[in-house]
Chain length 163, copies 6
C-alpha cells in the first residue's frame, strides 16, 4: 500500500481539512496528516496543541495518523517511504499557488506525485486565517470548525486578551 | 429604505472608492462608508484623518454618511439594521478574495447580502497600497486621489521623513 | 422604486437562477426576469415554454414578473424605465465574461448599472448547459432544477428521441 | 484494488495525455483510458481509430487498459465498479471547467471522487484541438504526439484533402 | 531592423486593435498587421473588406503595413524574415489562451518570440465578437470602432437583412 | 536604439530571470537589468552581492548591463532615456499583479510602455522566494539557479546559521 501524506499548517484544522482527509483516506486507504513546523511563522496554536486537535478531530476515521515535520516536505515524504502528497483544492482557488508548490516539489524529487482533491463546495470559502480573524473579532466559528477546536480557540483568545 | 454599508480601510480613499460610492448611492438612495479599525494593522492615516478625508471627498454626494467600526463587519451591519454590503470589483480582479469574504459573511448571518458593483474601467488598476507606495517614493498621485488626499499624503510623508 | 432586470436564457431555469432571483427581490423589492430571444441560437425550449417554466418556478415569490425581449438588453432596460441589471456570480467564475458584458452595457448607456449577487455556494457548479447534457445522457437532474422543469426536460427529450 | 478511470476524447492522444496516464498508473496500479463517444460532436478520428491509437501509444505501460463509453460518465464508472476518476491539470488552466465537471459528477454520485494530477510543465500548452489545427495547416506535430499518431494525422488529413 | 507581425482576424478592427498597433509601432518602428484567412470560419467581412478597413483605420500611422496569410502563423513569420509576434493583452484577460498559443508557436519555431502589450484600460472590454453582436441587434458602435468601420458594419448588416 | 529596462529584486537571480533577459536582448539588442533597492524590505542578499551575482550570471550575453535604482521605476526609466520596460510572464500567472503595475506606471508616464515576454515553460514554477525557502530548509537548488548563485546561497545561509 502506498503511504500518502497530507501536509499543512492546520492552525487550526477546519471542516474543509477534515472533508479532504476523509476523501483521501477513502481513496488511498491510509493518510498521514503532517503538520509543518515553520520556524519563521509562529502559529496561533503550538505544535502539540495542533497534534491534539487533529487527533480529536479525526478520531473514528480509520487509516489516519498524525505526524509533524520541519525542513523540506519532500524529505519528510522520502523518510516515510511515501510518494504521494495530497492537497485540497477549493472552488475559490488556491490553484495557482498549489500548482507552483507541486511543480517545485516534483523538481526536487521526480518520484513524488501530488494529487489534488476537491473539498466539498460548502467548504469552498473556508480558510484557517479567516477563522482566526472571526474568532479574534468575537464571531461564532461553530459552523467552520469541530467543537473541540472552537473551544480551544475561545480559551486561547481569552488567554491572549488577559495577557 | 434599506440601509446599505460600504466597508473598507480607505487608507487613503481613492477615485476608485468614490466612483463605487457614487454608483451605490444612485442605486440604493443611501450609503454608509464604514471605516474598519483594524487593531493589528496600523494604517498610514489615523481613523480621525480618514473620517475627515472621506467627508471632504464625498461632500456634495447626497445620501452618503461616514462611520467607523471595529470587530466583525456582520455585527456592525446588524447594529445598523442594514442588510446590504456593497463592494467594488475591479477588472483586475480582487474577485476571489471578495467572494470568499462575502461567502464567509453570509455564513455568519444569512440575512446579509453582498452586492458587487463594477468600478469604472479607468480605475481598474487603483489600490490604496500602490498609491501609498508611489507617494512614499516621491511620485505624483494627483490622478489617483482627490486633491485633499494628495495634500494630506504629502504632509504625512514629510512628517514621517522628519521624524 | 427602481425597476430591476435579471436577464438570461433560462433554457432551462435552474435552482441557481432561482436562488439569485430570491436574493435580488429581497434587496430591491421587485425583479423582472427577462428571457432573451436569441434568433441565432435556437434553445432547447421555446420562448413560451420558458415563460411558463419561470412562472411556475417563481410562483409564490412576491415582486417577481416575467418578460421576454429581443435586441439589445440596454434598449429593453430603457423601455422599462429600469436602470439596474442583476447578474449572478458563481464561485466557479463567469466573472470575466460577466464583467466584459457589464462594461460594454455601461458604454452603451452610462445610466445603467449592473449589480452582481453571489449565488449560494451549493449552486456554484450549476449551468443550464451541463443540465441539458446530463438530461440528454439519461442522468437524473432532480437536484439541479425544480420538479416542473425536470418533467419538461424528460418530455422534451423523449419527444426528440422519437422524432 | 480500486479501479481508476481516465476519461477523455483522445482525438488524438497527445504526449500530455500519456504523461498523465503514466503518473496515474504509478499511483493507483491500474488505469482504464475511457474514450467518450459523443454523438453530437463528430471527432476527427473514429472511435476504432482512437482505440488503436491509444493501444499503440500506451503499449508497454503496465496496468493500462482501453475502453469506450457513451452516456453519463458516472454510469460508466459505476458499471466498472470503479470510484476514482483521474483528470490532468495543466498550468495553463482548465481548472475551472474541470472543477465544475467534477462537482457535477459528485452531485450525480457522491461515492465517486475525482483526483487531479499535474501534467509535466513541458506539456502545459498542449491540446488536441491545437494539434489538429497545426496538422491541418501543414505544421509538424512530431513533438506533440507519438509517431503513430503523427502518421495517422497525416494520412487522415491527406485523405480529407483528396475528397 | 526587426520585422514585427501583429496577427489577427480583425473582423472588424476595433479601437483596441488600433491602440495596440500604435504602441507596437512606437516601440519597434514597424509593424505588419497580418489578417489570418481561416478557411473554416467565415467572417462577417471578406478578406478584401478587412484589408481596406485596416488601411483606412491605420492611415497616417507611420511604419504600418497590411498583409494577409493562411496556414500556420509561424510559416508566415518566417517567410517575412520576421521574428517577433505582437499580441495585445486586456485586463479582462485573454491571458491563458494567448499564452497557450504563444507557447505552441515557440515549440514550432524557437527563434520566434511573442511580446505582449497592454491595450489601454479603456478598451479592456472590447472584442470584435461583442461589437458584431451589438451592431446586429441595432446598437450604436461608434465608440468601439472607427467611423469607416461603423459605416461598413451598418451597410453589411442591412444587406444581410434584405437577403 | 531604444533603451530597455528589466527591473526586479533579483534576490537571487534565477534561471527564469536569465531566460527572460536572453529573450529580451535578442529582440531589443540591449537590456539593463535594474535592481530595485527597497528600503522597507531587506533582501537576503545585499545590493552589491546582487550586482555581482547578475554580472556573473549574464557574463557572455552581449548587450546586457546591470544597474540599481531606488525610488519610482518610471523616474529611473526616464533618467536613462529609456521607454520600454520588460517583464517576464509565467504560465503560473503573476499576470494580474504585473498588469496592475504596468497600468499604474503608464498613468505615471504615458510615454513608457511595458512589454511582456513569456519565460520558458520549464521555468514557469520558479520564484526567488521559493528558492530561498528551499535553500533555507536544506534543499538542493542547483536546477533553479546558476552555480555561482547556489554557492552564494549556501555561504549566506550557513553564515546566518552560525550567527
Amino acid at each position: 500500500m502506498r503511504k500518502v501524506i497530507y501536509p499543512g499548517s492546520f492552525d487550526p484544522v477546519t471542516f474543509g481539512h477534515i472533508d479532504v482527509a476523509k476523501r483521501a483516506v477513502s481513496i488511498f486507504g491510509n493518510l498521514t496528516l503532517a503538520i509543518v513546523l515553520n520556524p519563521e511563522k509562529r502559529g496561533l496554536f503550538t505544535l502539540q496543541e495542533r497534534v491534539d486537535m487533529l487527533k480529536q478531530a479525526t478520531k473514528g476515521i480509520k487509516g489516519i495518523s498524525i505526524d509533524t515535520f520541519d525542513g523540506l516536505l519532500v524529505n519528510f515524504v522520502r523518510q516515510n517511504k511515501a510518494n504521494v502528497i495530497v492537497r485540497g483544492l477549493r472552488a475559490i482557488s488556491d490553484f495557482e499557488y498549489e500548482f507552483q508548490m507541486a511543480l517545485t516539489n516534483r523538481k526536487l524529487d521526480e518520484r513524488i506525485e501530488t494529487v489534488f482533491l476537491m473539498s466539498s463546495e460548502q467548504y469552498s470559502y473556508l480558510s484557517s486565517r479567516a477563522i482566526k480573524e472571526i474568532a479574534t473579532l468575537g464571531g461564532d466559528v461553530a459552523r467552520f470548525v469541530p467543537p473541540c477546536v472552537a473551544a480551544l480557540l475561545r480559551r486561547k483568545l481569552s488567554a491572549a486578551n488577559r495577557s
